[in-house]
């Protein structure tokens, strides 16, 4: 069920942000992607997830070419993403956010199954060791760390195959970082494909199996974590 991208290109107007990116990401592997600001890391993740249409190249999940699928369908295939800005709707409840775009409903009128969603949400948060005061509270009333946790819980809610994480620890305090890293480790243990974009070298050397350095929209280096060092990664990023 590996995830594979071939020759992805993306331009914003005159700027070529992805210049033919090819890579494959294996099950049960955490791949860290590093690179300077504007290197194209978020753009790569968003193209895999479906925010940006694939203009050139392919995205495959196992045997399935998902290049032309809408976000909804990619999510149904098991691709989930945690966004740099979290993508939470802050006046809505925690449950509403956890199930955004994937609500449990009764047909034919799309009546929400609120009880069922509450129960699933409670169980999922419990399993992840996330404690929040109330599922009905608007997300805005939660702390930054709790909001981050909700965003991660949402991505994990439906047992995805691929987890795309864009700076999931950037805004967190130390204790919360280690919790998030623990979640990443257990996702790997469950055999998920994990792609982690981060600026924190510490995170990389704690959880990643593989390090990709991006530069100006291309892959500059791609190594097993055991074959490189923080110093070498830094020098590649700034070189």
């Amino acid at each position: 069920m590996a995830l594979e991208v071939r020759d992805l290109r993306k331009r914003f107007g005159a700027v070529e942000v992805l210049r033919g990116v090819s890579a494959s990401f294996d099950d049960g592997t955490v791949t860290a992607i590093l690179g300077d600001n504007g290197a194209g890391k978020s753009t790569l993740l968003k193209t895999i997830y479906g925010i940006y249409p694939v203009e050139n190249g392919t995205v495959r999940l196992g045997d399935l070419d998902i290049s032309n699928l809408a976000i909804r369908e990619r999510r149904r295939q098991g691709i989930e993403m945690v966004f740099q800005d979290l993508a939470l709707t802050r006046q809505q409840s925690v449950v509403a956010n956890l199930f955004m775009g994937r609500e449990e409903v009764c047909r034919p009128f799309g009546v929400l199954r609120k009880k069922k969603m509450r129960a699933v949400a409670l169980q999922a948060l419990g399993k992840l060791g996330i404690t929040i005061p109330s599922l009905e509270r608007p997300v805005a009333s939660l702390s930054g760390g709790q909001q981050q946790a909700i965003a991660i819980a949402r991505a994990l809610l439906d047992d995805p195959k691929v987890l795309l994480l864009d700076e999931p620890t950037a805004a967190l305090a130390a204790g919360e970082v280690s919790k998030t890293l623990a979640l990443i480790r257990s996702a790997r243990q469950e055999g998920k494909v994990v792609v982690l974009v981060t600026h924190r070298l510490n995170d990389v050397f704690e959880v990643a199996d593989r390090v990709i350095v991006m530069k100006h929209g291309s892959i500059f280096s791609d190594r097993a974590v055991t074959e490189t060092s923080p110093a070498q990664v830094i020098s590649e990023i700034v070189s």
């Binding site: 909804r72 809505q92 509403a96 955004m100």
Partner: protein, 315 residues
């Protein structure tokens, strides 16, 4: 202070206080106020604005504004009047035509907003002009008078003594209240108004949602046009002038966030009643119309001031 209450009730508390205050004041100063006949009239008079306010609740919940409903009312009144005179005056036929015209303009609004990426304010300001102009052109600038009786039932009929416009409004309040709060469509509407980029990132189909929301608001405005036509016995191209603003006023009095993500039909309805009671009470006290308009403005500003910090304000 009210955060122990379930959300929609808590949201309705402030307009409810306003409404209660108005009712008490008018009940004491104008004895006729609390009579069944008067309340029946209050609600009948606000049925058209009420339907527009219901549509506006969804539109505002989604972070948009619809300025076209007043003009859609006029277009619907003119076309339905002609239809009733020349083709079919059955109530069902009139409802289908009026609702269909509103739906069509609403879908056009939603489609154009997605197509152009322009703010809904601008697009619906455009369709406001277009719809109003077509109403004038189609009617030659003069109201269509003399409609068959059967076409007037929707506005002038009654059931158990309650006027039909009131019953129609009630049914629509219950249905749209349920829809906003208990269906996926309602939840997606709130998500979109809260943060459209987030909603899109989670796979919600925004263009389709816009069609649904503006289509609903348009259909309700078309229905309001039919009621207006049936109550005045004419297809008047000047019908519904600035009704969209009264509808928006009701939604805001109800405490919705003008920038989206927070709105409730119950609150809108309470805001609508406060508006209606204010106008009716001032009528009973024989206060001139100019002053009524003045009071509506003052109440709106006052209620916004009392809720500072809740309405998506900048402070």
């Amino acid at each position: 202070m009210f955060d122990k209450l379930p959300q929609p009730m808590a949201a309705a508390v402030q307009p409810l206080l306003l409404l209660t205050l108005l009712v008490v004041v008018f009940a004491l100063s104008a004895p006729a106020f609390l009579s069944f006949a008067n309340l029946n009239n209050v609600l009948t008079a606000s049925a058209t604005v009420g339907l527009i306010a219901l549509g506006a609740t969804f539109v505002i919940a989604s972070g948009n504004i619809d300025l076209s409903p007043g003009a859609v009312m006029a277009l619907s009144a003119v076309v339905t009047a002609n239809y009733a005179q020349h083709i079919d005056a059955s109530p069902v036929g009139c409802v289908v035509v009026a609702g269909g015209i509103g739906l069509a303009v609403g879908l056009l609004n939603g489609w154009l907003i997605s197509l152009t990426g322009a703010p809904s304010f601008i697009i619906t300001l455009g369709t406001l002009s277009v719809a109003r102009a077509i109403a004038y052109i189609a009617s030659g600038g003069v109201p269509v008078y003399g409609l068959p009786d059967s076409a007037l039932i929707v506005g002038q009929g009654a059931l158990f003594g309650i006027h039909l416009p009131v019953l129609i409004l009630m049914v629509c309040v219950v249905m749209s209240g349920f829809t906003l709060r208990f269906t996926r469509f309602g939840q997606h509407t709130l998500h979109m108004g809260d943060d459209a980029k987030a909603a899109q990132a989670l796979g919600i189909n925004l263009p389709r949602l816009r069609l649904q929301i503006f289509g609903l608001a348009g259909a309700l405005a078309g229905l309001a046009g039919l009621i207006f036509m049936a109550r005045t016995n004419s297809g008047d191209p000047s019908a519904g002038q600035s009704y969209e603003l009264l509808g928006i006023t009701a939604v805001i009095l109800g405490g919705a966030n003008l920038f989206g993500g927070k709105a409730s039909v119950l609150s809108t309805f309470t805001g609508l009643l406060a508006l209606a009671v204010l106008q009716n009470g001032l009528n009973l006290l024989a206060i001139e119309t100019f002053y009524q308009v003045l009071f509506v403005g003052l109440v709106l500003i006052l209620s916004a001031g009392l809720r500072r910090g809740e309405l998506g304000s900048w402070r």
